[in-house]
Amino acid sequence: MTATAEAEPEVGAVESFTVTLKILRHDPDGLDGREPGTEYWEEFEVQAHATDRVLDALHAIKWEQDGSLAFRRSCAHGVCGSDAMRINARNRLACKTLLKDLNPARPITVEPIKGLPVEKDLIVDMEPFFASYRDIMPFLMASGPAPERERLQSPEDRERFDDTTKCILCAACTTACPVFWTDGQYFGPQAIVGAHRFIFDSRDEGEWDRLEILNDKAGVWKCRTAFNCTEACPRGIEVTKAIAEVKRALTSGEV
């Protein structure tokens, strides 16, 4: 709290401050005389508390100022992957980004994630993203009769692919990747993460089918180790490492 003439904060009262959000809007319907598909910046001011997240601010706008603001969200604590967006030029989940960590003194810019077609405001078409995920055959492939009980797996073998099982398919990584921006063909880091999860699962036998797919023109070789994906991942997955491991498997011929 600044040293203004405000009353002493009550014990336990949470600090409150004003933040400005600058949101890149996209109007698909063409209301108020706009062309359908117009993009424009709009600024909103909201009152916020120290524990508030960008999602809370977006809700405050939607619920109190402009109900037409559209964005996806569900769980509100970073596990469903609905609300990846570009906040202050970085991909993050709105529900995991505290306003106070963003220098609230300056307007906070909020844009849809890049590289996927925008549908309305912060909502993009996720279909191409999910299509890449489907392309890498993200399901266990095993041959032979299913065992009576569980397939055995040592804790070490389980640990091998733990990191990439955390993925919530939020697309923050893929839409942060500069190679994905240049050329919509790249499968993108998420698809590689999705494949990694199975390639290094000791129970899976489809690893070479997946590696062959990732060996493709649109596959791992497109990655230029820009590291944006790793920096963007809200689950803390070492995405670039997963990609490197896939590349190593392909160059060495060993998983």
């Binding site: 492939m141 299913a146 240049t182 089918d209 062959e212 493709d216």
Partner: protein
């Protein structure tokens, strides 16, 4: 109660294998050629620009002097080939990334390829057919007969 059958994977497009290979070798080539190039180029730069009088010493005589030695001939030849292939391969990746229209992409790829071949051929010709002692030229190119031309004279 049974889990849904774990069926065999779906068919994938037929020509992945060959396509994939190109990408993979391309990637590995960048790395291998890169490492070798480091040694080649830095020595080259060092010799040309740092030893002696640096850039100001470079003239016909300097070049001629170097190429009289087969070591430098091979050296420069390797550098030429590696750098050009590495560079062209790199440029190919760029074209892939930015040129989205197929015809544009194809045109640029061909242009790259042709440039590469032309430059390598040109460069090699110069290095290998280079005549360090052009007898018909006027003497002022090389004041006095350099030692390496003595056998010719």
């Amino acid at each position: 109660m049974a889990a849904p059958e774990l069926t065999t994977p779906r068919q994938r497009p037929a020509n992945l294998r060959t396509l994939g290979r190109t990408q993979r070798w391309g990637w590995m080539y960048q790395r291998i050629s890169g490492v070798i190039l480091i040694a080649l180029i830095f020595t080259h730069l060092f010799v040309n620009l740092m030893v002696g009088d640096g850039v100001s010493q470079i003239d016909f005589a300097f070049v001629a002097g170097k190429w009289a030695d087969p070591l430098w001939q091979w050296w420069d030849f390797a550098m030429l080939v590696l750098a050009m292939t590495h560079g062209t391969n790199g440029m190919r990746i760029l074209v892939d990334d930015y040129a989205r229209r197929p015809w544009l992409r194809a045109t640029l790829q061909w242009a790259l390829l042709i440039t590469m071949v032309v430059i390598i051929v040109l460069g090699s010709l110069v290095i290998w057919t280079f005549d360090a002692c052009p007898l018909d030229s006027s003497g002022d190119l090389m004041p006095g007969v350099p030692s390496f031309c003595e056998s010719v004279v």
